[in-house]
């Protein structure tokens, strides 16, 4: 693999992987908020 291909591979997979992973974390965080909502007495 030449240097340009190496750099582009790292950039595309690195940034893509970072976005996808953070996307998964966002989805799971929203799920956590639904599973563990603030108790209704605390909301008031």
């Amino acid at each position: 693999m030449d240097t340009l291909a190496f750099g582009l591979t790292l950039t595309v997979i690195g940034m893509g992987g970072t976005f996808v992973t953070l996307g998964i974390i966002i989805a799971l965080t929203n799920l956590l908020k639904r599973i563990f909502p603030i108790p209704s007495d605390l909301k008031k």
Binding site: L4, G7, T11, T29, I38
Partner: protein, 382 residues
């Protein structure tokens, strides 16, 4: 008798003779070391790191110094803390214990800014490769764009230890210069209308259980996707779990105070020890500083550009300035966003949203580094 007095005196002057014959790089680095001490003490720029780094730099560059020789004090600290990667990881426990992910959890989508803020890593990596850096060296130069000192040290100490001094000093110096580097870029890339977008107040919508489960979830998800980065993410999330659980207040306190302070001292001294003149004063070091600066600028540009896209997609409800907070310099860049927002509208309070993006930047920077390490492992380079 007279002869032995003369020989003994000559030995005492050997250091001065060395300094003015072959030791000019050490002389230059002594000036650099005192410069770092000046910045730390007089200007209060990252004093916790720059003071021990500056002092370590002075120690190692004094003529005929043996502090980085086998058995020397700085060499000992380097071997036990940097070669083993323990120091940056212990600092991460403290950072996790100090970080409040609350604003991020109120509005999880803002985590995407933490991804955009990592573009600088990869764009700088490409530039470093174009400039002729070897592949692993280029990775370590790019990692300055994570704006995250411990991550930069962790990666560089493993894969380009000869660049450790330059990368560490560049990473911490530029982190402290975020309030100077970011505002002009933010102003150039946004319009007056965009800068004055108000985002309202975050409502309390996160339960204690969610805050406890969040670090566990992040550790598991990121550990499965990029196991090479698990030590980094695991330690930061351990610190946060201790803080949010509230059951180990002594450990939390020790992590964010005693342990973090002690390790910061040792880490700074050991990094300073890597700045020996003959090894440090090379064209490559200057290139590292230039590329590091560029990396942080590119992070800011890409973050703000994502903010502009989000502004359009949301119908003008998201302030693009928030994108600048998607880097790991916590809480500096969040404060910069708040200051810039208020510069154009005194009643615009962006701080909590910016804190969310900023903590997202912390997760994003570690994630980007973790993924990069996993890709390198997949390529068989590490």
């Amino acid at each position: 008798m007279l002869e032995s007095i003369i020989y003994s005196s000559a030995e005492l002057l050997a250091g001065i003779k060395y300094l003015f014959t072959g030791g000019w790089p050490n002389l230059v680095m002594l000036v650099v070391g005192f410069g770092l001490l000046f910045l730390a003490i007089q200007k209060e720029i990252e004093p916790l790191l720059l003071l021990p780094i500056g002092f370590g730099c002075v120690l190692v560059n004094l003529p005929l110094s043996e502090v980085m020789e086998q058995g020397g004090v700085l060499k000992f600290l380097y071997d036990i803390g940097i070669i083993t990667e323990i120091f940056p990881l212990l600092i991460f426990v403290g950072i996790g214990a100090m970080t409040d992910f609350g604003p991020l959890l109120e509005n999880p989508k803002i985590l995407l800014f933490g991804a955009a803020g990592q573009f600088g890593i990869f764009l700088t990596l490409l530039l470093a490769l174009a400039l002729g850096f070897s592949r692993l060296d280029a990775v370590c130069v790019g990692i300055i764009g994570a704006c995250d000192g411990p991550t930069a040290i962790y990666v560089t100490s493993q894969y380009a230890p000869h660049l450790l001094g330059a990368v560490s000093v560049a990473a911490y110096s530029y982190m402290s210069l975020v309030p100077i580097i970011q505002p002009p870029i933010m102003r150039v890339l946004t319009t007056q209308k965009e800068r004055t977008v108000k985002m309202g107040f975050l409502k309390e919508s996160v339960s204690k259980r969610t805050k406890i489960m969040f670090p566990l979830m992040v550790t598991v998800v990121t550990g499965i996707i990029a196991p090479k980065g698990l030590p980094l993410m695991g330690m930061i999330m351990l610190g946060n779990l201790m803080k949010e659980s509230g059951v180990v207040t002594r450990l939390t306190g020790a992590s964010e105070n005693e342990i973090a302070n002690t390790v910061t001292l040792f880490l700074g001294l050991a990094i300073g020890g890597t700045m020996e003149g003959h090894k440090f004063l090379q064209l490559q070091t200057l290139a590292v500083f230039g590329l590091g600066f560029l990396a942080i600028c590119l992070d800011t540009v890409c973050g703000v550009l994502l903010g502009k896209v989000w502004y359009v997609l949301s119908g003008g409800k998201v302030n693009p300035l928030l994108g600048a907070a998607g880097i790991s310099a916590y809480p500096m860049s969040a404060r910069v966003v708040q200051a810039q927002g208020q510069r154009y509208d005194k009643k615009n309070f962006l701080l909590m949203h910016a804190m969310g993006a900023n903590t997202g930047g912390q997760i994003g920077s570690v994630m980007a580094a973790a993924i990069m390490l996993s890709i390198l492992k997949g390529m068989g380079l590490i």
